[in-house]
Symmetry: C2
Subunit: 157 residues, 2 copies
């Protein structure tokens, strides 16, 4: 059982952009922070853009940012949109299936039921739930974020 | 979301052997029936043997067969045993993880919960449920099975 690399990288990108809040981020810096391939990430970012989940600013000093608040980005919906068809085994993709027993195999409906249960859990969470430890995430991703305590006067002083 | 090829091929092998009932089958014929790689299947069969799910007879005329009744082979248990650790994303395998945010990432527990829900569905089924259409499965796998009607006298004649 594996989440595809495509969904995995999409969720990592969204967490990164969530931590950055409105600041623009580039593919290069996200790939470097996670130590992952830029070319794989480029395809993921392209799709996130086409789906309207992120917003891209072209040119020098450009980059990407979230197009919605983290609380409005549902994890289940994102995985479904990124994957298109959830091909848990090859017979879920009728066009490319080579397994001869697909028409009468009892496993298909059981895997469909299990996949449904899996996605139902993801449907209950949003990107905001993924980044409750924003400050620690920023540290591990080498993102410098403004210190909230410095931005507003401390109440007790 | 994908079931690993390892689990996929294991389940296909068990369905094949279930259709064959007690008859011995070879890796060559299973690989040919499904149109899949013999070398991949060899590793799968080796593990199924080590787990005691199948029984192997060596030498000329040898092969493998199920070691238990299909109703006693649980699908969830089989997938868990075949996969060892269910590495849905790389951070589930601490030894090989490269993702820097693993210690504070909110996604890990959500994916663990979703995986649990997935496996809970598989735990409710056995190999017997997979092969309710045994006769049709045999046809698609080019397995000739004895006609049950011929083996015992028909009640009405």
């Amino acid at each position: 059982m594996q989440l595809t690399q495509f969904s995995d990288y999409a969720l990592r990108t969204l967490i990164y952009l969530g931590v950055r809040e409105g600041d623009l981020a580039t593919i290069e810096e996200i790939a470097a922070s996670y130590g992952i391939s830029e070319s794989h990430l480029t395809k993921v970012v392209h799709k996130l853009g086409r789906l309207g989940i992120i917003d891209t600013v072209r040119g020098r000093g450009g980059g990407m940012r979230l197009n919605r608040r983290p609380a409005d980005i549902n994890i289940g919906a994102t995985v479904r949109q990124m994957e298109g068809n959830l091909t848990i085994v090859e017979c879920f993709d009728i066009e490319h299936n080579t397994c001869p027993i697909a028409p009468v195999c009892g496993l298909t409906s059981v895997l469909a039921e299990a996949l449904e249960a899996f996605m139902a859990v993801l449907d209950r969470y949003t990107l905001a739930d993924m980044m409750k430890e924003r400050r620690n995430l920023a540290g591990l991703l080498s993102i410098s974020i403004e210190d909230d305590a410095r931005r507003r006067p401390a109440i007790r002083s």
